[in-house]
């Protein structure tokens, strides 16, 4: 999508990488999820604590009570600060929210974040939250960095969607047609971009409105047949089947 900001970074090995920045929308989404989880953890701890203290008389006896309070404060502080540090370090730049939204914190040179970066980001988080400073910084900086990101030298990027998770269902009848297309058509005339469009079509076909399916299939099939110079030679078959066959044919052609 051309409306998402991109950033180029160079690894220590001088490999140039291009990333799509996470963007305010994804970051807000991830933050909402994280804050929900994080506050529920804190609430559960407090409730369990209150329950223990009211139910067990021994915990209320004098010297122990002080210890218990100290431990409680320590745990709360640990969860408060530790949530983001632990997850970002252990999950290589992701928290549950970020993982769900498919974004990740990385260093500016493309490497994974370490515990140092996570700590810096976490310590500056309260300042970024006050008066929504972080929001403004992300909004107006080219690399979408909040204060924590500036100090830690990190950026947030989108993770590529993994193709394997998306299943493409292809009808068995397409294999025969594909073989005929390979024999007679110029499958090599298709560019990778055009193949990507075919794949998008196949992914999204089930979600298309039933009334729109035929016109989309017809249009795309005609364009493709024109491309591979088979517009008139093949007997008329279902447009969707034709596109499936061209998909298979392209795959077979370039796998060998």
């Amino acid at each position: 999508m051309k409306f998402l900001n991109r950033v180029k970074s160079r690894t220590p090995e001088s490999v140039e990488l291009e990333f799509v920045l996470a963007g305010l929308g994804n970051r807000t989404y991830a933050l909402i999820i994280d804050y929900l989880i994080w506050s529920s953890i804190l609430i559960v701890i407090l409730i369990v604590w209150a329950f223990l203290v009211t139910q067990i008389a021994w915990l209320r006896s004098e010297p122990i009570r002080l210890w218990i309070t100290a431990i409680q404060l320590l745990i709360l502080f640990g969860v408060y600060i530790g949530y983001f540090i632990c997850f970002e370090t252990l999950w290589r730049g992701q928290t549950p929210g970020k993982r769900y939204v498919k974004i990740r914190v990385i260093r500016e040179d493309g490497r994974n974040v370490g515990i140092q970066q996570s700590i810096l980001r976490s310590l500056l988080r309260p300042i970024d939250d006050i008066l929504c400073l972080g929001f403004l910084f992300i909004l107006f900086s080219a690399q979408e960095k909040r204060l924590g990101d500036w100090v830690a030298g990190t950026i947030l990027i989108q993770e590529g969607q993994t193709v394997t998770k998306q299943k493409i269902e292809i009808s068995p009848a397409a294999t025969d047609v594909a073989n005929r297309i390979i024999e007679t058509g110029k499958i090599a005339a298709l560019t990778p971009d055009q193949f990507a469009t075919i794949r998008k079509y196949l992914y999204r076909y089930p979600a298309l409105a039933p009334t729109a399916r035929n016109s989309v299939s017809d249009r795309l099939a005609n364009q493709l047949l024109e491309r591979i110079e088979l517009a008139d030679t093949l007997p008329t078959i279902d447009a969707h089947l034709m596109i499936e066959a061209i998909y298979l044919a392209y795959q077979q052609q370039f796998r060998e």
Partner: protein, 322 residues
């Protein structure tokens, strides 16, 4: 060059809808803001019409001493208000159209987009009305049904199970029923709000073909189309609206905070000085409110355009072409 942004599906994720709208707003800020200024001007004009109608009415009454002068004044006020609201609704739609044209790589200038939508001005007024009417109907019906349901439930507990009202079981179950009914009410309302979220778009950008030629859809058709497009993805739309709303909280607080504080000061205090400060805060707050609306309105209109664009791609595959 390696790329991590392999995008096999070509539709927008929830977060990217919001991000795209920010990018679009930032890169076209001048144009959208210009339309937003014009729209706010029409809002102010509605107030002006009230003022002018009041002055003229008062003047005429002083001269003629007859209540009959109210008739032309009220008619004039009505026409003025309708005209200004229609213009306001159209300018909002102009922003939607500008954003949508940008998305489909056929950008228009503000002048062209406005020109295109002028013939549809009254359609937008009707559309705005119908949507608010429908939403209010949903709210009234849902609240009636839910209140009756809670009452029946309460009666069943008290009379059916013969539990006294002080019984903890009765109290807890009735409280839960009330909370449940309230949540259900909110869910229903949000759901219908989402259904009609992009109602302006079809009227703003589509042309319906019929035997005699092309014409924009009617207000009713536009609303129906919004529901038809969104009905399969209501949850997504609700999430998008929630995220956008939460992101706008800082600006909203800035816009609504002072007038709210002013209101509290006026109603809570009996001290004249405090009330005076409250009054100033309230009036200044109204100004701030208008100012924040000036900035936020285009953002929402752009989100609508993006949701609509993405939905049409998902449902009708407009982008699936080589």
């Amino acid at each position: 060059m390696a790329k991590n942004n392999y995008d096999p599906v070509g539709t927008l994720s929830i977060g990217n809808v919001v991000t795209t709208s920010i990018t679009l707003y930032k890169s076209n800020f001048k144009r959208y803001f210009q339309v937003s200024l014009r729209a706010t001007g029409w809002l102010l004009a509605i107030l002006l019409v009230i003022l002018v109608a009041g002055l003229i009415g008062g003047g005429l009454y002083a001269v003629t001493n007859s209540w009959l002068v109210a008739i032309p004044v009220v008619i004039g006020w009505l026409i003025g208000t309708l005209y200004c609201s229609a213009k306001y609704a159209t300018d909002r739609a102009v922003i939607c159209r500008l954003a949508y044209q940008e998305l489909i790589d056929a950008p228009e200038t503000v002048a062209v987009a406005t020109q295109q939508l002028i013939p549809r001005t009254w359609g937008f007024l009707r559309l705005t009305w119908l949507v608010s009417l429908y939403i209010s109907l949903v709210a009234v019906i849902a609240s009636l049904v839910l209140v009756i349901a809670v009452l029946i439930f309460t009666a069943a507990i008290i009379y059916g199970l013969k539990l006294p009202i002080e019984n903890p079981v009765a109290i807890i179950s009735i409280t839960l029923a009330v909370i449940g009914a309230f949540l259900l009410f909110i869910t229903i309302l949000v759901r219908y709000y989402a259904y009609w979220f992009v109602a302006e778009l079809p009227l703003a950008v589509e042309q319906t073909r019929f035997s005699g030629g092309e014409a924009p859809p009617t207000a009713n058709a536009s609303i129906a189309r919004s529901k038809q497009l969104i009905s399969t993805v209501v949850g997504r739309v609700i999430l998008i609206v929630t995220i956008a709303f939460l992101m706008m909280i800082p600006i909203n607080t800035l816009g609504n905070g002072p007038s709210f504080v002013g209101q509290v000061m006026i109603s809570a205090s009996t001290d004249l000085g405090t009330q005076a400060i409250g009054g100033i805060l309230m009036i200044g707050g109204l100004f701030l409110n208008l100012l924040s609306e000036l900035f936020i309105m285009p953002f929402w209109q752009i989100i609508k355009a993006i949701v609509y664009y993405d939905l049409r791609n998902r449902r009708e595959g407009g982008d699936l072409t080589i």
